[in-house]
């Protein structure tokens, strides 16, 4: 579904590039986490795939076609929710469809369906300021799902939420993604989150950002109905990922 080859990005010619020769693949229906320490360029890579940023070099292919800007195949969920404060939850969720020119009745009905899917069916008329953080992010998720993308891009979407809300939403996300067979690229700096949600974990290194490991997670998905932390695979993955990240963190602090 998603193929990134040789991606590089440099903000200032005089400084080292933030991404260099970055490669990644996400297969159909696969959930891939992009795991890395802060500043490694994972958000930059995601924004390039979304089309919000230009690459300095390399190629991005989505669903067999070159991806050079925002398109209907992809939808992004932001860490900061980014809901329009002047619109209700329903109107926010319908925004993507509105931009595509869907007529009002259809898009509001669809938005309502997706809001129900994320558990906000009874709050469609609320404004963002009347919703909690977790509820706002559900709206953000509904908005992305409503355009029925092939690829879901998520930029540390639960980072701004408290631990309990985060777990609830992770479970919700997994259910929906599994049921709909979506392909997902999920950026995070939490190892646990990556193991919980993904089929594969792409570990990123710093300076410049590139893939340093591709870890498969073979535990049965979805993982919200059994004690996944008790599986031996969990402990092994966790330790491996932690070692990889630690080595990268050392690199950063050595430079600093």
């Amino acid at each position: 579904m998603l193929t990134i080859t040789g991606l590089s990005k440099s903000f200032e010619p005089s400084k080292p590039p933030i991404l260099d020769n970055f490669n990644l693949e996400v297969g159909q229906g696969e959930f891939v986490s992009l795991l890395g320490p802060s500043g490694c360029g994972k958000t930059t890579a995601l924004r390039i795939v979304t089309g919000l940023l230009n690459a300095s070099g390399g190629e991005v292919w989505v669903d067999g076609k070159p991806s050079v800007g925002p398109s209907r195949d992809k939808a992004i969920v932001f860490q900061g929710f980014n809901l329009f404060p002047w619109r209700t939850a329903l109107e926010n969720a319908a925004y993507g469809l509105e931009v595509q020119g869907v007529n009002k009745a259809t898009r509001l009905a669809k938005a309502k369906d997706y809001l129900e899917l994320v558990g906000l069916g009874d709050r469609t008329g609320h404004y963002p300021s009347q919703l909690s953080g977790g509820q706002q992010q559900r709206v953000g998720l509904a908005r992305a799902l409503a355009i029925e993308p092939k690829l879901l891009l998520m930029d540390e979407p639960f980072g701004a939420l408290d631990a309990l809300t985060r777990e609830t939403l992770q479970g919700l996300l997994m259910e929906i993604v599994t049921k709909k067979g979506l392909s997902v690229l999920f950026v995070t700096h939490s190892i646990d989150e990556a193991i919980y949600l993904s089929d594969r974990i792409a570990v990123m290194g710093v300076g410049p950002g590139r893939m340093i490991a591709d870890l498969p997670v073979t535990m049965r998905r979805p993982r919200n109905d059994y004690n996944w932390r008790a599986e031996p695979e969990y402990a092994a993955l966790r330790e491996h990922a932690w070692e990889l990240l630690e080595s990268q963190l050392k690199l950063v602090s050595d430079d600093a």
Partner: protein, 272 residues
């Protein structure tokens, strides 16, 4: 087609995709200087062959500047007249507005008694009172001074009142508990706490006062810089008009910058 080949066709809105030319100091100044040069050139060329009664090119304005400043010296008296009324009027507005504002801020009763008038007179476009004031006070500086005071006092008063009334009662409680008198409370607690508002009010009043000075001069006996503009206007001497216009602009910008600086110095801890 690769991402990079199509890179140029992204939507053209400014994006946080990294530092561009515009963000460097060199870039900023280049844009500013280029715009300045372009504007001046267009102005010069556009007015070169125009009837001087309509507009004058920058070069002639500079000549007129020189003339009025150093040759005939005709600009100095009006300049002093304008500045005198400006600072005098502002001072009086402060002297009247701050105490009343403090009183209204401290006493809810007083504020209810007075606020219909304050609200109305603040909302009233003060120009409307010029003909009346001229009848009552004449054409000369008493009228102009009173007008400037009238135009600017409300901003001082209202800002002071708001500042004083929002002083946290926690602070005043401390003073009262330690047996401070009303006067001491005002001096030690109210003024420092309300200072940001008072300074902001003074700042707004200053810019209103500048406008009021000009208005009063244009509409009365043509003293001051505003008077100069009107005097030259009836003779269609646009180059000379621009001298006063530019001077007023300089005064306005200077007072803005100075009051902003003062605001930062006097109340470094405050809001805008």
């Amino acid at each position: 087609m690769t991402t990079t080949e199509r890179a140029g066709k992204q939507p053209s809105l400014a994006v946080a995709s990294g530092r561009k030319f515009v963000d460097t100091t060199k870039g900023r100044w280049t844009i500013r200087i280029v715009t300045l040069v372009v504007l001046l050139t267009v102005w010069q060329v556009g007015t070169q062959n125009l009837n001087r009664a309509v507009a004058a090119p920058p070069t002639e304005i500079l000549v007129a500047f020189w003339q009025q400043l150093f040759v005939t010296g005709s600009i100095w008296l009006p300049l002093v007249q304008s500045l005198g009324v400006l600072f005098g009027g502002l001072a009086i507005a402060l002297v009247i507005g701050i105490p009343i504002g403090v009183a209204m801020g401290r006493s809810k009763t007083l504020s209810y008694l007075l606020d219909p008038y304050v609200t109305f007179l603040y909302a009233l476009p003060h120009v409307a009172l010029v003909p009346l004031m001229i009848i009552l006070l004449g054409f000369d500086w008493p009228f102009r001074l009173t007008y400037v005071v009238f135009a600017s006092v409300w901003l001082v008063l209202i800002n002071t009142m708001v500042g004083v009334s929002t002083v946290d009662t926690a602070y005043t409680d401390v003073s009262i508990a330690y047996t401070a008198s009303e006067r001491q409370i005002i001096r030690h607690v109210i003024f420092p706490a309300a200072a940001p508002y008072i300074v902001a009010g003074g700042r707004q009043a200053f810019s209103v006062a500048v406008a009021a000075v000009v208005i009063s001069e244009i509409l009365s006996n043509l003293a001051g810089l505003g008077g100069q503009i009107q005097l030259f206007a009836v003779q269609y001497l646009t180059a000379n008009m621009f001298v006063s216009i530019v001077l007023i602009m300089l005064i306005a910008v200077a007072t803005q910058a100075t009051t902003a600086w003062l605001q930062r110095k006097l109340t470094p801890w405050q809001l805008s």
